[in-house]
């Protein structure tokens, strides 16, 4: 057991901190600190700065921009980025489709997609969930039927986050409706979102924002070369992707930063000395510390690249705490929290105005990435053997 970072890792951390706080434009970092939505341009600019410095896809194979870091270094990278208010590389690209293509894709697919994916020249959307396939993802019904050198895709995806910005969408589609198990007839397909017959329709959310979309497919023709891996093996790739997704989905660093900011907010409304408020800070700070240390522990255990089932703990607890922190911020704001849409001329401070939309928006965190009930199911079955 060793408490301290090695000299090498401490230097690594200091260099990343220096980079993130000096090379990423202040205006982007201020937007993150204020908990406002980033524009497409801001996200692209930020990711390209990271990619140019080799910091966008460090966990990919070295050949495609990976850095061969230890799990601990990857953890430090992820935490420092959040700490500095730098938006992490777009998850759909860096954490989801990139590793799938790098692991299961053809050489041609790797060459065509991976550099552009790392640099956010292609903005990927995720086409997994459907109206009748949420937690029960394998019951998806969007079909892809082979017709010569093409698949013809019909159906509907939903909850497509930032789909309005998407260039391409990676989709799970049913290619064998007669497979004995529903998991066996699914394939993983890459689809150009400018294809005829593909339509993106916005879904307005409870925070007033437009973050997710429906994506409709009507006889969309997709070249067979855009099939990833083997036909009807898409479920394996999806499980691989979802396992990766859970690791990054616990934003401990961001929750810590917001909680630290919330101390200033509490001070500004003269509530930090209130014992009831102080106790909530203490409990949240301690739970976040326990979770951060757990993330470090899990990182050390997933050396073979496979997600530790304990990553479900990170997802479950990480999203609970993220929600709890947002709830505390809203409570601190008091009646100013109601002035969400008052605009910048309001006398209510921005953090207070943002607090309600953020609180409402983050209700999604315990639903996406495998709902927290699915995570409990994984813990109960896979870890506890129940």
């Amino acid at each position: 057991m060793r408490l301290r970072l090695s000299d090498e890792d401490a230097t690594f951390r200091a260099e990343l901190r220096e980079f993130f706080t000096t090379k990423v434009p202040q205006q982007i970092r201020d937007t993150v600190a204020a908990r406002r939505h980033l524009t497409r341009e801001q996200l692209v600019e930020s990711q390209r700065i990271l990619n140019a410095a080799g910091l966008a896809v460090p966990h990919w194979p070295v050949e495609w921009g990976g850095r061969g870091w230890t799990e601990l270094q990857r953890h430090i990278w992820h935490e420092e980025m959040q700490r500095a208010c730098v938006p992490p590389p777009l998850a759909f690209n860096a954490s989801m489709v990139g590793p799938v293509i790098a692991t299961f894709g053809s050489q041609a697919q790797k060459e065509r997609f991976l550099p552009a994916t790392a640099n956010l020249d292609i903005w990927w959307s995720q086409g997994f969930s459907e109206p009748d396939a949420g937690s029960d993802l394998a019951s998806l019904r969007t079909t892809a039927v082979r017709d010569g050198d093409e698949f013809v895709v019909n159906g509907q995806k939903t909850w497509t986050t930032l789909g309005q910005y998407g260039d391409w969408i990676f989709c799970l589609v049913r290619t064998d409706p007669d497979a004995p198990k529903k998991q066996q007839g699914i394939s993983f397909l890459l689809i150009d979102m400018t294809s005829p017959g593909l339509e993106v329709r916005p879904i307005q959310l409870i925070d007033g924002g437009r973050e997710v979309n429906e994506v409709w497919f009507t006889n969309v023709r997709v070249p067979v070369e855009n099939l990833v891996g083997e036909l009807n093996h898409g479920w394996d790739y999806a499980k691989f992707l979802l396992g990766n997704e859970r690791v990054g989905v616990a934003p401990v660093g961001a929750s810590k930063r917001v909680l630290a900011d919330a101390k200033d907010w509490a001070r500004s409304v003269d509530l930090l000395g209130d014992p009831l408020v102080a106790t909530r800070f203490v409990e949240l700070e301690n739970e976040l510390l326990a979770l951060e240390l757990t993330a470090l522990r899990v990182a050390a255990n997933s050396a073979d690249g496979k997600p530790d089932p304990a990553s479900s703990v990170l997802k479950l607890r990480g999203t609970q705490l993220q929600q709890d922190v947002s709830e505390l911020a809203m409570d601190l704001a008091g009646p100013d929290a109601a002035a969400s849409f008052a605009g910048d001329r309001s006398e209510a401070p921005e953090w207070a105005r943002m607090s309600t939309p953020v609180y409402l928006n983050l209700r999604k965190a315990s639903i996406y990435g495998g709902s927290n009930e699915i995570q409990r199911q994984i813990i109960a079955k896979t870890i506890l053997g129940l």
């Binding site: 057991m1 060793r2 408490l3 301290r4 970072l5 890792d9 951390r13 601990l72 430090i76 700490r83 810590k256 930063r257 909680l259 630290a260 101390k263 001070r267 930090l272 000395g273 014992p275 102080a278 106790t279 800070f281 203490v282 409990e283 700070e285 301690n286 739970e287 976040l288 510390l289 326990a290 979770l291 951060e292 240390l293 757990t294 470090l296 522990r297 050390a300 304990a310 703990v313 479950l316 607890r317 009930e373 995570q375 409990r376 199911q377 813990i379 109960a380 079955k381 870890i383 506890l384 053997g385 129940l386």
Partner: protein
């Protein structure tokens, strides 16, 4: 940063687990032992001494084995796993820890030597009626000078206070501050009324009435040393609680897989398995924080008070959660003394009461929460 144990603590863990398993692997046997005086197995205590366990944290020059807090923590986890009632934390970590911190060379050699050899059971008499885990003493007062001192007043609860051969006693000094003294079990004017604790442990009300006492080191203010040792004991007892929670969850999971109702085993009911999953989350996040606090104790002892409060708070919350749910998921059988799970919950409860409950730790941390932005465990 590295959370894995080196080979030595792993070997120690295996050896201690094997030794304790022989006596306490059978829960019925544990019940028999705690039902009789002195409430633990003197033979197990001797064997722990032979294994070097009772002298783990002490210098070799003082008769110890010169190991560190990580090894001590590993032993505590094993004791917690089987609810071994031997007074390891009170004797080795608390009383022994204070002797090591402030005792003279002669006191260290004599007291720690015989403690390490299993010849003498030590305890710390510090808690006072109505006191709430504070470092200063008030109800026991020391008077005297030079080497001639006497103590008067009451300490309670004193863990294994009736059985202890020697007590390390905190007492208010005539000129202010809290001093530390050694008192023999056979000293004049010493009254000890022992009683069982709810988890099968033992404590005593210890009354001093002009009782002769020998200053541990010099009779000067030792409040800071007491605070540090109480914090160290908090970290080690958190490790003990971790072992207890670990087995409480295992036992509960085993029960859910075997107990049948409505014609199926209980693990068919998601209302129950989801609660077990939440217990696992509590356990694993507690494990991480306790491991961190143990490393702080080993490598950065100046920060141990804060780390102990944090580990203590987490374990208090996790202990309540796991302890309560363990009984609930068992149903009626969990209420019986015959079955082990209730004793696990009772032990978690007792550990909190002896070393500080969640309210205490949260309150201590609330006093400093405005002093920093983030807590950085990698700093």
């Amino acid at each position: 940063m590295d959370f894995t144990y080196d080979a030595e603590p792993v070997a120690l863990r295996d050896a201690v687990r094997a030794l304790l398993g022989k006596t306490y692997g059978d829960y019925e046997n544990r019940r028999r032992i705690v039902a009789a005086e002195p409430g633990f197995d003197e033979d197990v205590w001797r064997r722990l001494a032979e294994m070097g366990v009772l002298g783990l944290p002490f210098d070799e020059a003082d008769g110890g084995s010169g190991a560190g807090p990580v090894e001590v923590a590993v032993v505590a986890q094993e004791l917690g796993r089987v609810l071994a009632p031997e007074p390891f934390v009170s004797a080795v970590v608390e009383a022994g820890g204070l002797v090591a911190a402030v005792g003279t060379a002669a006191q260290r050699a004599e007291v720690l030597g015989s403690l390490s050899a299993g010849e003498r059971v030590l305890t710390l008499a510090h808690a006072e009626p109505g006191s709430r885990w504070v470092a200063p003493a008030a109800a026991v007062v020391a008077t005297g000078q030079g080497d001639r001192w006497v103590l008067s007043g009451t300490k309670e609860p004193v863990v294994h206070g009736a059985r202890a051969d020697q007590l390390v006693v905190s007492a208010a000094l005539p000129d202010g501050g809290t001093g530390l003294f050694l008192v023999d079990g056979s000293a004049a004017g010493l009254r000890r009324e022992g009683y069982p604790l709810v988890d099968g442990g033992r404590a005593a009300r210890v009354t001093f009435d002009g009782t002769p006492a020998q200053p541990l080191g010099e009779a000067v203010d030792r409040t800071a040393e007491i605070e540090r040792v109480l914090a160290a004991a908090r970290v080690i007892s958190a490790n003990e609680a971790l072992g207890t929670m670990d087995v409480a969850l295992d036992t509960t999971v085993g029960y859910l897989k075997s107990r049948k109702q409505f014609g199926v085993t209980l693990n068919h009911f998601q209302a129950l398995t989801f609660r077990a999953a939440d217990m696992y989350v509590s356990l694993e996040t507690a494990r991480s924080l306790v491991a961190w606090a143990s490393m702080v104790l080993a490598e950065d002892p100046d920060q141990v008070v804060d780390a102990a409060d944090r580990a203590g708070l987490k374990v208090a919350r996790a202990g309540r959660h796991i302890g309560q749910e363990a009984i609930q998921l068992h149903g009626g059988i969990g209420m019986t003394a015959e079955y082990s799970i209730g004793a696990y919950t009772a032990h978690l409860t007792t550990l909190e009461q002896l070393h500080g409950n969640g309210h205490r730790h949260a309150s201590a941390l609330a006093a400093t929460v405005a002093d920093h932005g983030e807590v950085d465990p990698l700093a």
